[in-house]
Assembly symmetry: C2
Homo-oligomer: 254 residues x 2
């Protein structure tokens, strides 16, 4: 059998938000290379005989880590292994998939990409807030606030991000939140714009900090955050200002 690599989205956190296809790929894998951010309960869904290898937290390790992951994938596929590269959320959103796909293609390895529920949509569902709403939000945008060097990227289109009629979601936004908010306010975003931080979206220990864009950095500074965080900004989040950590909803339908 010829080896192959599948880049598979593990979804936002809740293991039930895995797709049927992702489950099938995990259950037919020889090797699973998984991001540290992927929940153990999801890794455990892989075929029992599969070798499971943690390959480092996204965005917080030196880039040689990325080269090492690529070498491993190519080596394993060339041995004839079915490799699953399991990534948090969706592989095509801030997942550095381009580097992996290019290298695998250059090595002649068969590739498949299995999409996943991206964290922003998992969190929006849990909040029960639509990211689009006629008259309030015609446009949805996602950015990452975490460049290669761990700082806020320099080439952000601040005007696009300050548009009051868009819903914005900032991935990996907790560390650079103060600078981000300064720049948004400097570009004219109303300080009263609703804003919300969600930590560990869709996980059992999800936390929410609701505020306005101006007051969010202060409220966030008062909390200890350890999981991945999303920042939501926009008029559609008006009803979430009262949210405080922990904010897991009791009323689930069984």
């Amino acid at each position: 059998e010829k080896g192959s690599v599948a880049l598979v989205g593990a979804g936002p956190g809740d293991p039930e938000l895995l797709t049927l296809k992702a489950l099938r790929m995990l259950q037919s894998a020889d090797v699973v290379l998984y991001d540290d951010l992927v929940a153990p309960a999801i890794v455990d869904m892989a075929r029992r005989e599969a070798e499971k290898i943690a390959v480092g937290k996204r965005g917080y390790k030196p880039s040689c880590q990325q080269d090492h992951i690529i070498s491993m994938m190519i080596g394993l596929a060339k041995e004839g292994k079915r490799v699953v590269r399991l990534k948090g959320g969706d592989p095509m959103i801030f997942g550095r998939a381009t580097e992996e796909i290019s290298a695998l293609r250059a090595a002649g390895i068969a590739i498949e990409v299995v999409p996943g529920v991206t964290a922003a949509l998992g969190a929006a569902a849990a909040l029960q807030v639509s990211l689009t709403e006629r008259d309030k939000a015609r446009r949805v945008q996602f950015i990452t606030a975490h460049a290669h060097d761990g700082k806020l990227p320099q080439d952000i289109d601040w005007r696009a991000l300050s548009d009051p009629r868009a819903s914005s979601v900032v991935y990996m936004g907790a560390r650079t939140l103060g600078v981000l908010v300064e720049r948004l306010l400097a570009h004219g975003l109303d300080p009263a714009t609703p804003a919300l931080l969600v930590e560990r979206a869709t996980c059992a220990d999800e936390r929410r900090i609701g505020a306005t864009i101006a007051s969010l950095p202060g409220k966030v500074a008062a909390e200890t955050l350890s999981g991945p965080c999303l920042i939501f900004i926009g008029a559609v989040f008006a009803a979430t200002e009262g949210e405080v950590a922990p904010a897991k909803e009791a009323a689930q339908i069984d």
Copy 2:
């Protein structure tokens, strides 16, 4: 038993891209109200005893249709039924979920929202093109090109949409493509910017038309389109210019 309503994302088209949670909700439903755009194979995954009711194509019926759907959901939930409202893609992206959630809350009905793989991410995975890429696309944005009246919305932030360093995805964009492209070019978008139309993303009969933003309307006009379409615009799509309909990849990993 008290009735309830779950807004459930059916994913982009391929039935395997349903989440495990969506499947569980479908298999415990008493009634499934589904958009016409949802594939029959997905509706068939619902519990055998569940009543399955088609509730009209999204965006192409009068708005009284929406009021009727809401009344049905409330009535059925008040009878004690477990209602699943099955929507194409993700419920929180251009799914008009706000109107449904507000009405259900006002009626005191228990609600749950189950996210799904949104069409843009399903298509990106099939294309094997990451929507974000360091240096090329720091920002991803989704808009709908289909307002209430079937025309292009008037309040689009054209400057944000013409940003050469963003990846843009236009939902329901086929009908208004000509006007959209005119406006983008007028706002300074390079006519050579890669652009692509994807019809029926992730379905067995998916079609792709690759072009530049300037040449896309002409290429699209030469084709007959009948399914839902997405328009992709941005530098990351450079490799897709050669795509022509039909473009389903032969090399799937089994």
